[in-house]
């Protein structure tokens, strides 16, 4: 007996929606087995993970707060991956955005300032993320250096730079030697949307970016170019599209979005710079981009779901004493199953007897 993959002639839109759903269900089954192996009640653990964060308005807000950076980054990464540019250094671009944005917050600290501080921080963060994202893009287009490796190496560089800044030049002089910057002033904090809770203006920004992304990808020539360069690079070159310039564009764009995410993390969630600011949003966004089928609206749905696992993971750590790494295992499972289900969409699986082969 042998298993044979046969290419399908067409992929139905139904299958495109169904495959992530199947992947999520398989992840739940795999998660239940893992919890059982760890000696926990699988149902209780799963409900802590996936249902407990939905039970009150406060933690639903937290889901949006956590989803905001993830979705912003995932939309940018989708553009990269669609055009065959493997930017996996979004975590570093996020940190660099936070450094640039944080710089604005720190220099305006204790001097007369105004409501312009936060928008300027966003712009600075965009700039920082875009410049840092351009480094692997330039190295790829100019020298052909592998962008997967260079963009990932830069994550470590950005994290070490932030570590140095908050322990050295940017350390709060009145902070009892803790490795952290001054607390940002109210002008440098993201505007809250509600009286009680942490829902902030970034959630609106996220929706704007998702809609803009969907329009660009679905309705414009640029969106067509991105897909064409990824799927048929030769045809794209004949059509006169400049793939090197596109590489620079998508890296700058995804870097800028990651930079905004970084500013939002420090100014809405933390309120200062610290040695570690992100629980791996930049890496989670990679999973979100794939789970969302490299489609901005898909990224929004997938990002909210993954944010749920972050909040659920924190709850599970508190109530069930499960290590926080379980969240990462979940995310790994999810990406495995998404990729596997994608295959089932592209290929038909047939089981043949040996004699027939």
């Amino acid at each position: 007996m042998r298993i044979v993959l046969e290419k399908r002639d067409d992929t139905s839109a139904f299958a495109a929606v169904l495959s992530p759903v199947i992947a999520v269900l398989l992840t739940l089954v795999a998660g239940a087995i893992m919890f059982a192996l760890m000696g926990k009640d699988p149902l209780a653990a799963l409900s802590t993970y996936f249902l407990s964060p939905l039970q009150d308005w406060g933690s639903i807000q937290e889901i949006f707060v956590a989803a905001t950076p993830i979705v912003l980054i995932a939309v940018g990464l989708s553009l990269c991956y669609l055009s065959n540019n493997w930017n996996i250094g979004a975590e570093g671009q996020l940190v660099m955005g936070a450094i640039f944005g944080g710089f604005v917050a720190i220099v305006t600290h204790g001097v007369p300032n105004g409501p312009w501080v936060f928008p300027v921080m966003l712009l600075a963060g965009m700039l920082g993320g875009a410049l840092f994202g351009l480094v692997p893009a330039v190295l790829k287009t100019r020298f052909g250096a592998n962008e997967i490796l260079t963009s990932l190496m830069l994550v470590y560089v950005a994290e070490l730079l932030l570590d140095w800044l908050v322990r050295g030049p940017w350390r709060d002089p009145h902070g009892f030697n803790f490795p952290q910057s001054v607390m940002f002033e109210p002008e440098a904090l993201a505007l809250r949307l509600v009286e009680t809770g942490r829902l902030h203006v970034g959630a609106l920004l996220m929706l704007v970016v998702v809609i803009a992304g969907a329009v660009v990808m679905g309705r414009t020539l640029k969106g067509f170019e991105v897909r064409l360069v990824g799927e048929a690079p030769r045809a794209a070159r004949f059509a006169g599209f400049d793939d090197k310039r596109l590489t620079l564009t998508v890296f700058a764009l995804s870097g800028a979005l990651a930079g905004i995410a970084g500013v939002l993390v420090v100014s809405a969630q933390i309120g200062q710079l610290q040695p570690t600011i992100s629980p791996g949003y930049g890496f989670t966004a990679i999973i979100v981009a794939f789970l969302g089928r490299l489609n901005p609206i898909g990224c929004l749905v997938a990002g909210l779901f993954l944010a749920l696992t972050f909040i659920g993971g924190e709850n599970a750590q508190i109530f069930l004493r499960l290590p926080l790494d379980v969240t990462r295992v979940f995310q790994g499972f999810l990406l495995f199953f998404v990729l596997a289900c994608d295959t089932l969409m592209l290929y038909r699986i047939r089981i043949e007897r040996e004699a027939a082969a």
Partner: protein, 305 residues
């Protein structure tokens, strides 16, 4: 022991895990498969190796556990990329994320425990030779294993028929298939070998390099191993050169920190990563953009009978 001796010794120990992991990945890529999950397999090797060694009280069983852990993770990757023809880049990333997470879960109850590091092999006579003896003949078994692996991989790839077939699968899987070679089976074996090597490299970190396990202890070494393969132009002896270069940079920055150099420690710690980038750029420049990669690296193969 002189300072120079000490430095050379530490460079060798810092380079060994990089060399072992890079050699494994080199074979995988020669077969035409790009497995970006080295970091994940390596850290699983470190966690499982330490866990088994603590539970059984035997370092060697720990090593075997680490090799198995790496191979098991690699088999998940093989199932996805070979069995289901999934995207290799994304599958490798998933493997790294998954491995980092699972190693944290498995290792959670072993954090803070310590055990004796693997003893150095002392060869009477040879180890007593001044300078050379201490450097060449007073290492832990991993170091000798890595050198044997280097020779073995070179011999297999370039001096045996099986190695030739494996390289053929990486250069052009359609032709290899047409000649009747089982492309997917060969790639499966290569991927498993790569996983075993990554697991072994991880075991080195938690059983010989340091006496403990700590979450995330691979600190990007798996990714540097991937960079070394590119640097090496897919040649084993150049991979050794690359591994020792990176090991050297790592140790150099530690010594510079220890010597109280007036440079922030974070800048020195960033050095290995920056050197990786610079080396990747320089190597591509030297090749003037032409890639030495196996022609079918990273492309899935679906047999079309």
């Amino acid at each position: 022991m002189t300072l120079l001796e000490a430095i050379i010794l530490t460079v060798i120990t810092a380079s060994t895990p990089l060399l072992i992991a890079a050699l494994g990945e080199l074979v995988v890529e020669k077969a035409g498969v790009l497995n970006l999950g080295v970091e994940g397999m390596m850290i699983m090797g470190a966690a499982c190796g330490f866990a088994v060694a603590i539970l059984t009280g035997n370092t060697w069983l720990g090593v075997i556990g680490a090799i198995l852990a790496g191979a098991v993770l690699a088999s998940v990757f093989a199932l996805l990329t070979l069995g289901l023809a999934a995207n290799q880049v994304a599958s490798g990333l998933a493997l790294s994320i998954f491995g980092l997470g699972l190693s944290g879960v498995i290792g959670a109850s072993f954090v803070g425990l310590q055990r004796e590091v693997m003893p150095k092999l002392f060869i009477p006579g040879l180890s007593d030779i001044p300078f050379l003896g201490r450097i060449l003949f007073n290492q832990d078994p991993f170091v000798y294993a890595s050198l044997a692996l280097l020779a073995g991989v070179w011999w297999f790839l370039f001096r045996t028929r099986a190695g030739l077939v494996l390289r053929a699968c990486g250069e052009n899987h359609t032709s290899a298939h047409a000649l009747g070679y089982p492309v997917l089976r060969i790639r499966l074996l290569a991927v498993l070998f790569g996983g075993a090597c990554a697991g072994l490299a991880g075991a080195y970190l938690s059983l010989a390099y340091t006496p403990f396990w700590s979450p995330g202890m691979t600190a990007g070494r798996g990714w540097i191993a991937l960079a070394i393969v590119v640097f090496a132009s897919w040649l084993p002896w150049r991979a050794a050169l690359g591994a020792y270069l990176f090991g050297g940079v790592t140790i150099l920055q530690l010594h510079a920190q220890g010597a109280g150099l007036a440079v922030p420690s974070q800048f020195l710690a960033a050095l290995p990563y920056l050197v990786t980038i610079v080396v990747l750029v320089l190597i591509m420049r030297a090749r003037s953009g032409a890639s030495a990669a196996p022609a079918h690296l990273g492309t899935p193969f679906v047999p079309d009978r």
